[in-house]
Amino acid sequence: MATQQDASGKEPNFYEVKRGISSWLYTLDHKRIGLMYLFGIFAALLLGGAFALMVRIELFEPGKTIVGQDAYNQLFTLHGAVMVFLVIVPGIPAALGNMVMPIQLGAPDVAFPKLNMASFYLWCSGALLMLLSIARGAIDTGWTFYTPYSLGSATSVLPALMGVFLLGFSSIFTGLNFLVTVHKFRPQGMGWFQLPLNVWALYATAIVQVLATPVLGITVLLLFVENFMHIGIFDPQLGGDPVLFQHFFWFYSHPAVYIMIIPAMGVISELISTFSRKPVFGYRFIAYSSISLALLSFLVWGHHLFVSGQSRLATMVFSALTFTVGIPSAIKVFNWVATLYKGDIRLQTPMLYALSFVLLFTIGGLTGLFLGILAVDVHLHDTYFVVAHFHYVMMGSTLVAFLGGMHYWWPKIIGRMYPERLGQLCAAGVFFGFNLTFLPQFVMGARGMPRRYWDYDPEFKIFHQLSTVGAVVLGVSIFVQGIYFLWAAKNGARANDNPWGSSTLEWQAPTPPTLYNFTTPPELRELYNYDHFEERGELDWVYADPKNSDDAAEEPASSGH
């Protein structure tokens, strides 16, 4: 096999192949695209987090604290829209998935590199339109754009809608790319049940991305046209049906919850196995449960419309179907716990996030069952209970898995380690800050505090104040991570090819990987089998297969970018 080797016999890594701004702007390399996504998404995360903190600070006292009522409406709308459409939906698939999924398959790139680049630029365009909306008097409709309010709002709804439309197509193209990549780029000998669970999860996510997102696309397109041409499809004044908008919106946005959570589950499956030094318990069940979650996600959107004037039959059917989602979710949780059982658990930063995930996801999932019960939902609908529930799922689960995945794959992609102690501290900060923020919200929601309110009854004051304090802890913990990741990219300790002793293929690639990921074709070993790894130091694992003793003795790749 012909390789372009330099004098030292090493092929240049993907940073060294080409340099300069244009080599990044025009890149078709999935790792560079993933890395650009990562920076963009992290920036959006900080922006959305800043909005969240302003919302929380406003709620520190009843009445006006820092902003007025209209600005408050804009703040929570922007927090929701930025976090959902710019951060959590693309977070794990487009950033982490892009960087590692092809390598996990032993593939040189995704199936359609140009489409991948197009997805990234669609994401950028969508993000710019969102910023434009903020600049032109930020949208205040809530991130759900419910009609008829979104038709009458005086704020800049149109750029935000167009932004969401473009972000949707970015997501569709990423999903399409991943589906084809998984189908057509598995190496000889890697059957469906030798796929890493992260790939399974991304595959299941991609199904939802391709099949659900177009409905969001057409919905926001119709709303866009409705807004400036008054086409009447959602406008009750012209004979349209505003509840139809809710159906269309949730037909995407409920599956979108699974676009957010399924890849997180994939990351967690990898982390728990690796850091328990134990094969995943019930591999096939976890794989199948990803697919069944993807399929069930299409059948439950009506549970967002229990109080919107849906027929009684429909509410009962949707309520019953909602409970079925609990089955695959519980299968995963039980399998993770069984994997941990009698494992050789290492509490490195990624594992701290994985353990946080299991706990927070369990709380988020179980409170979802409360909301699926019709009678209870009538009481809890549009209260802080709902807010706490979906933050436990979207943030406590997805964002925590995203951070865990970042710490886990950071050494592979960047070639340097992050500061471990600080990482562990921040992981603890995220966990405690998160719970402090959202546990009180369950309580005040159950006691009747409605969501999206600018003012509140003094009896809720203590809960709001606890929540605000928690949000600050959470915000600081995440902000510090952004700083130390940047610091580590230059100053961290050089990473080994396989610092965690993981069994998936990306850890056989050089660190950082070369342009086409592998210098020699990766060797397919038994997945999630850690028997052949030898632990040398705390962060220095090698594969000790007697047949491949040369590989085992391989020096850590130098990066030097």
């Binding site: 096999m1 012909a2 390789t3 372009q4 032993g106 593939a107 040189p108 790139d109 199936a111 359609f112 590199p113 489409l115 569709i172 399409l176 790319n177 589906l179 084809v180 189908h183 057509k184 780029f185 190496p187 000889q188 391709v210 099949l211 659900a212 997102t213 177009p214 409905v215 696309g217 057409i218 919905t219 119709l222 046209v225 409705e226 041409m229 008054h230 086409i231 009447g232 499809i233 406008d235 012209l238 004979g239 349209g240 049906d241 139809l244 269309f248 037909f251 342009l515 086409y516 592998f518 074709p521």
Partner: protein
């Protein structure tokens, strides 16, 4: 798996095989799966509009039964044939590419492109007529027809010649007094006064394409009004009911359905556009007096009484009769919804056709350059598949929008 790292040295297949694929077959298979997934995405993209269609039609069948008369089946049918034909040539182009027949490929791509442009041309004609007549979506729906078929007025006290539905009372020698649905017009703040009494001062017209007058729902044929003769267009005197010459209702060719609840009136069916162009009407209207007593449309509270009287005196109308009534009567409320759906569906479909045109131009240029070989014809195949789905969506749209009964 092999990973050739050099861009253009593969030793297999065409120079268009990208570096990360094993071989031409690998690239083709990946592309094919990709385009199928894209088509699945397209189906879901259109699905919301189909759901909206089903929902609004099941809730308001009268709107659909009434409004589809505004669409011209002839144009829709021609477009259907054009698209099916282009699907054939698109598939044929794939075959030619597989067999390496460059001339056949170029020919078939050209025909497909021409068909796509023909489709867009016809769509342009349809759209421009609707824009001209104010038959548009949502709040832009302003077809210049009064319920009750009164002499037509618009917001600016005028009717633009071809938009009218005029019922001529031959006995009185003037247009029947209006039955404007005042509540509806009052909604519009831009309206300068309610108009009810109009006189047709000038009218010229030609008969339908077959030279015959239009059919009325009860099966009787009415002659054109004598007014036409006065303008030297027609010599025919008013014929009509009971053979009472000169006192019977007559019709003025109209392309809007019209009905008047009292007095001599004629129902006219929606005509075709070519004829309508030849009808010129000038209408002068007076400012409205207070709503006259006994006008069922002026006083909304009379409506239930009228409705119950109709129900008690008549046997339940058949489905067919209902459809005829819908076709002939005043537009039901929210008729604009049909055109919202119509323009959303055909507009989105039209955008897809436009994309198809761009893709086929690109493929045609590449085919002329000789890019495609039996080893490398993926783009032709993918574009043809895309074109088939565009075709298929139209095959659903045509009956759903044009062929409603």
């Amino acid at each position: 798996m092999s990973q050739p790292h050099d861009h253009h040295e593969h030793g297999h297949g065409s120079r268009f095989i990208q570096h990360h694929y094993d071989d031409a077959q690998h690239q083709f298979d990946a592309g094919k799966l990709g385009i199928w997934l894209f088509l699945a995405q397209e189906v879901l993209f259109f699905s919301a509009l189909f759901v909206a269609y089903i929902l609004y039609r099941s809730h308001h069948p009268e709107i659909y039964a009434y409004a589809h008369h505004y669409l011209d089946v002839k144009f829709g049918a021609i477009n259907t044939a054009v698209l099916i034909g282009s699907s054939l040539t698109a598939a044929w182009a794939v075959r030619c590419a597989q067999l390496g027949q460059r001339r056949g490929l170029i020919l078939n791509l050209s025909v497909t492109l021409l068909c796509a442009l023909t489709f867009l041309g016809i769509k342009y004609v349809e759209y421009s007529h609707k824009i001209h007549e104010g038959i548009l979506f949502g709040s832009k729906f302003d077809p210049c027809v009064s319920s009750g078929g009164s002499p037509l007025v618009t917001k600016k006290n005028e009717c633009h010649g071809t938009k009218s539905s005029v019922v001529w009372d031959a006995t009185a020698g003037k247009a029947t007094e209006g039955c404007l649905e005042s509540a509806k017009i009052d909604l519009d703040p831009k309206l300068e006064g309610l108009q009810t009494r109009c006189t047709v001062s000038e009218l010229s017209m030609t008969p339908g394409p077959d030279g015959k007058p239009a059919l009325v729902p009860n099966g009787k044929t009415f002659e054109p009004c004598p007014l036409a003769a006065a303008h030297g267009e027609h010599g025919a005197a008013a014929g009509g009911e009971g053979g009472a010459h000169g006192a019977a209702p007559c019709y003025v060719l109209s392309f809007q359905p019209a009905i008047c609840p009292a007095g001599p009136a004629a129902l006219v069916k929606y005509g075709d556009h070519a004829v309508r162009r030849d009808v010129g009407i000038k209408v002068e209207c007076e400012a409205a007096p207070e709503p006259t007593v006994g006008d069922p449309f002026a006083d909304r509270t009379n409506e239930p009484a009228l409705g119950s009287a109709l129900i008690s005196e008549r046997p339940a109308p058949s489905k067919h009769e209902l459809a005829e009534q819908f076709a002939a009567g005043p537009p039901p409320p929210n008729t604009n919804m049909f055109f919202s759906i119509y323009f959303a569906m055909t507009g989105l479909h039209g955008i897809h056709v436009l994309v198809g045109v761009i893709v086929f131009i690109w493929l045609l240029l590449r085919a002329i350059r000789g890019d495609f070989t039996p080893d490398y014809f993926g783009p032709i195949d993918y574009a043809a598949l895309y074109w088939h789905i565009v075709d298929l969506i139209w095959i659903f749209l045509f009956p759903l929008l044009y062929l409603i009964h």
